[in-house]
Amino acid sequence: MLDFTLWDILSNLLLAARWTVLLSLIAFVSGGIAGLLLLVARVSPVPPLRVAARLFIEVFQGTPLLMQLFIVFFALPLIGIETSAWTSAAVGLTLFTAAYLAEIWRGCVEAVPKGQWEASASLAMTFPEQMRHVILPQALRIAVPPTVGFSVQVVKGTAVTSIIGFVEVTKAGTMITNATFQPFLVYGLVGLIYFALCYPLSLSAKALERKLNVAR
């Protein structure tokens, strides 16, 4: 039987962790862009847009991420769209992230006083102009801490993609456990890697919150 050193295990996990980080980044960036569009639709003065955005958000907040990944991975091929584990994971997490960020940001937009809407409307600005120049710049300040905080959820969410065969750090952990029969050690290391990724994010979210509170 082969012997695995601790470094063998750790190095393989760290290699797989690259994909966790990359998937998190993709989900966060594309989810952020989609979330911004969703947010604008959600607070727009056009009722059908508002309803559609709200429906999307409710569906993705009201179902488990695991289900969403299953649907993207297994259901899309049924209607003729071939997907790899990679694209399924990226698409699934992006939609999930978009829904949550849109809802977080909606709270921030609503925290901007009504007078700001009224003053900008009185200056004959249209909804997109109000959003772009008056509302979003102010909402952004409030939005930074909870957004960074939510990025922790995205990183942890990538673990679920192991179930559709995407090899990130959790999946790698399972594979290595199957070879080494040392689940406690391997998953312990996996846990530490997640912690090392997430804890700095949590810390910076807290620091930003303090900083922005003082600035106000």
Binding site: P113, A119, S122, L123, A124, M125, R141
Partner: protein
């Protein structure tokens, strides 16, 4: 006796109705706050709306630039008609400026940027013209030196003057003032009223909702007393104050003067 409203007498009203409200109705849920209000304001006129809270004066003022969507009637400002079905209020709002009780300056922009924003975004003026217009508007309210100050660095009175400059820079036909001194400390009220008084003297058409009765008396051409969602009485300030025709107005004057 009141001082004669000299500034009003010195101004020339052209006799052309600039703002015309006909049959304005508005309900909030089951409560009808405006019950068919008719009102006309001529170019160069200064009109103060007074009345108890809940009488509909603020709602009426806010309906003139479409901040409150009316349920019935027609608003006409300088030939621009708006009825309840109207969605696009951009044309109307370019003719109507508004100043609020809470100033509502954009806190992330400096005083100058506050004034320039709509010139740039709405009027699409180029950088130099925008800058010049903003400097002129701020100078007009006595704050030319505060171009780069942020709202949080200004006193309430200064913030409100920036808000006035921001509206004026858009060159509106009429300026609406919604209790613009009510949020100010007493010692800051005068500087804001001074600016409004100067605008009135220069012939700006003004519609004010105010609790400053002395100011209304001195500066306004006409007083509109609202009660229960209707205009109960209107006329020259001296006349209304000295010979109120309705018991409601008599009571209202008694209340404010007792303060």
């Amino acid at each position: 006796m009141s001082p004669v409203n000299t500034s009003a007498a010195g101004r020339i009203a052209t006799g052309r109705p600039l703002v015309k409200l006909s049959g304005i109705r508005k309900s909030f849920g089951p409560v009808e706050v405006l019950k068919g209000v008719d009102m006309a304001v001529e170019e160069g006129q200064v009109v103060a709306m007074i009345g108890r809270s809940g009488s509909g004066k603020s709602t009426l003022l806010r309906s003139i630039n479409g901040l409150e969507r009316i349920d019935g009637g027609v608003i006409e400002v300088d030939g621009e008609c708006v009825d309840p079905g109207q969605i696009d209020l951009r044309a109307l709002r370019q003719k109507v400026g508004m100043v609020f009780q809470q100033f509502n300056l954009f806190p992330h922009l400096s005083a100058g940027e506050n004034v320039m924003l709509a010139l740039k975004v709405v009027k699409k003026q180029d950088k130099a013209a925008t800058r010049a217009a903003a400097e002129a508007a701020l100078a007009k309210v006595g704050l030319g030196h505060k171009f780069d100050a942020y709202p949080s660095q200004l006193s309430g009175g200064q913030q409100q003057r920036v808000a006035i400059a921001r509206s004026l820079a858009m060159a509106p036909k009429v300026l609406l003032c919604d209790e613009i001194t009510s949020a100010l400390d007493p010692e800051l009220v005068a500087e804001v009223l001074g600016v409004v008084r100067r605008l009135a003297e220069e012939g700006m058409t003004l519609i004010l909702v105010t609790h400053e009765m002395r100011f209304a008396r001195e500066v306004c051409d006409r007083l509109v007393f609202m009660h229960g969602g209707r205009i109960a009485e209107q006329g020259p300030p001296a006349e209304l104050f000295d010979r109120p025709a309705t018991p409601e107005l008599a009571q209202f004057i008694g209340m404010v003067e007792a303060r």
